[in-house]
Symmetry: C2
Subunit: 435 residues, 2 copies
């Protein structure tokens, strides 16, 4: 509906405007990708949630339908619908590598599709708003992402906390407790800390095959407290003999230094329990929470050192974030923080009194529209009450009367629908007033 | 690619801005519709071109694959991709009838999909830009569509001719020659006049079963000449005993009167051979051609009296137009009429001299970005030549140097990349200059 469109566009426009001032360039990728590009990129669960598109023509030719449906599907469907913006972006970068000047900053606002059961906050089709910088390892990129998050949510009037961690620190922790090969299990479990609590995370780690000793060895990490600097100092000693961990700490220290200089208005927090589910992250990871609303993360991202590797272009480091437009929509709704006049279809409506008056309205409307003012001429010569009811129902703030005397005098009568005040004025003044 | 995006967005933004000043409201519909909503709405050829989406889970359960693939497809695919914006709009209006205030003006800019063989000017995924007004029979609506066409193409600097006809006139012609039931055959053949010439249209009409007498009876219609008013006068006598034809003439006369008053800059022409393929039109029909480029129609539309009838809501008249964004893109490319600075990623780039200088750049960049100026800090401390090469390749018009002396003096050195001029100035002046 128009009101939802206006609200969503308010979010998109805010995000897009910020992306632009940080010199990100827009791209779009096709909705349909080769299924082979998508399969295996989002885990087993992701493969199930891919929408597959039936081949055109006789899709049944030479297909043996005596097999399991999992095996039949890719034979009758060559293409699938975009599942996220990251994998198509990686495919795009590899395909257009010769036309792209690196480092490359792109943003992309497009719908993605998941064959999920729809429920509150989870849709089959929803928009992602991604910004990535690729081809540079500088931590200035990470800083700028934090700045963009800060400015976007300032403009949307949502108070936020940006949580930051680094995958190398998590790798260091895994190595520290002698379970370097179990980093995925460890991060998946740690990632749930917020939701299920420390005891359940411990239980899950044990279930995933860590020894009691290994689980206990994580306690000093969970116990870290204080400012980011204090936590990082403590980690430096914990990681005395763990190279990758120290590297993660050094990166975090540099980034937090940049952030301290830049003084964002949002809260920024080092959260060592932040892991994020996706396993292609290799450096910084981000997650943004709204402070005044109970809601999952409304923005997230991180650095990946080899995203394009799966498409044959190794060693290209990138870092990016994705704004969750639908959750931001829900936060703004709960905060009642959408601007009030977003869904204004017309600034003014002309009452239609008949052919001669309509003709005068058309001429004046053309002048108003040329000035960028949205106006409507009621199209039918309906009863006055019907026309006024329409203006009221559409919450149009002004109604314009052009009758015989207005035509004769070159004037218009403007009625303010809120105050009820009615003023007759020359057309130039009408234009100035509505502008 | 970003350059294509910038150009396409220039077209979209122009169209959207005009739609808005005419008080049209935006809606979007889901990409996936029930296949039953789409099938049978676009003719046999259209059904073939629908992208069908495989059901999730075990799509093979209880399906007999021993049948023709045409029969199997709808059993294993409940949903299909949007084929145009008109049928989903009709479905939307019927579904939301209780929330909509009529007359309702909506616009919609979304991609549609067709399982066609891709070729120049024909894509599997392309955007349509539609505006429809529904729930009013006033011909003022038709006038406003012509005005919107006029303003859009004025702003895009494309000289155009708007061709107008009325389906009732075509129905009158069919009735006149005693072939009222053959109106579809007649309009399909007439529609090709531009492409295949009069003789071939005559041959096709004969092929489609019209008698030689009937084909000959069309000659006075093809022979009509002169201004719109002259043609309409002549038609009034031809239609002396054909009620529907006279009604079409009356509508055209009223509309052309409105247009004469409104004085659009585009050419407007009554074209009695204009038929348009789609058969749901019942009144005015429109088609727009670019004057300076050889190209199919770049915009088209018409009035339909019963579009929502197929979804159980009869007798709702509407009229709408659809801009062909891809063809408009091609026209602008051929005319070389895209604004020159559309694809400017950044107005200025800061050279990165090292940590201390970068820190100063971050602070200045934040101020510039807050003013809406797109700037970039080169993220790595690369060699000067590499950084300057990057700015050149990206066509960034200004480069900013913040070195030791600039930091000490609170200044910036701005280099104009076109003239080569270099000026050192206070930061406030830098902001004012770039703004």
């Amino acid at each position: 509906m128009p009101v939802e469109m206006a609200r969503r566009n308010y979010i998109f426009d805010t995000i897009r405007q910020v992306f632009k001032t940080f010199a990100f360039e827009p791209i779009e990728t096709p909705s349909l990708e080769n299924l082979s590009t998508l399969m295996g990129k989002y885990g087993e669960e992701g493969d199930k949630l891919l929408f597959k598109v039936l081949n055109s023509g006789d899709f049944m030719k030479d297909v043996d339908f005596g097999q399991d449906y999992h095996k039949v599907a890719p034979q009758i469907c060559e293409r699938g619908l975009r599942y996220d913006l990251t994998v198509p972006f990686a495919r795009f970068v590899v395909q257009h590598r010769d036309q792209i000047t690196f480092p490359f900053r792109r943003y992309q606002l497009q719908p993605v599709w998941r064959a999920d059961r729809p429920q509150k906050g989870r849709y089959r089709e929803f928009y992602q708003c991604d910004a990535d910088m690729i081809g540079s390892t500088s931590l200035l990129n990470e800083l700028e992402l934090v700045q963009m998050i800060d400015v976007v949510f300032q403009r949307l009037a949502i108070r936020t906390c940006v949580k930051i961690n680094n995958r190398k620190v998590l790798a260091g922790i895994a190595e520290l407790i002698g379970a370097a090969d179990r980093i995925v299990d460890i991060t998946v479990a740690i990632d749930k800390l917020d939701k299920i609590g420390l005891d359940n995370v411990r239980a899950e780690l044990a279930e995933r095959g860590l020894t009691a000793q290994q689980v206990a060895a994580l306690d000093p990490v969970f116990a870290l407290a204080g400012t980011a600097a204090e936590k990082l100092d403590a980690l430096d000693s914990i990681f005395a003999s763990v190279e990758v961990g120290r590297q993660g700490v050094a990166e975090l220290r540099e980034l937090f230094g940049y952030i301290a200089d830049a003084q964002p208005q949002c809260q920024v927090e080092l959260d060592l329990t932040l892991a994020r589910g996706l396993n292609y992250y290799t450096g910084a990871i981000f997650e943004v929470k709204a402070l005044d609303v109970q809601m999952g993360s409304i923005c997230g991202g991180g650095r990946y050192d080899n995203l394009t590797g799966i498409f044959g272009m190794p060693d290209v480091s990138g870092v990016g974030i994705s704004f969750g437009a639908d959750r931001i929509y829900d936060v703004l709704t709960e905060l009642d923080a959408f601007p009030a006049d977003l869904n204004r279809s017309a600034k003014a409506m002309f009452i239609n009194f008949g052919p001669a008056e309509q003709r005068a309205c058309v001429a004046i409307a053309a002048r108003l529209r040329a000035e960028g003012i949205a106006v409507l001429i009621y199209p039918d010569q309906a009863k006055m009450k019907k026309q006024m009811d329409f203006a009221n129902r559409k919450a149009i703030p002004f109604v314009i009367f052009i009758g015989e005397s207005e035509i004769a005098n070159g004037t218009a009568t403007l009625k303010d629908m809120v105050s009820g005040n009615q003023t007759t004025m020359p057309i130039d003044q009408l234009i100035a007033h509505l502008k």
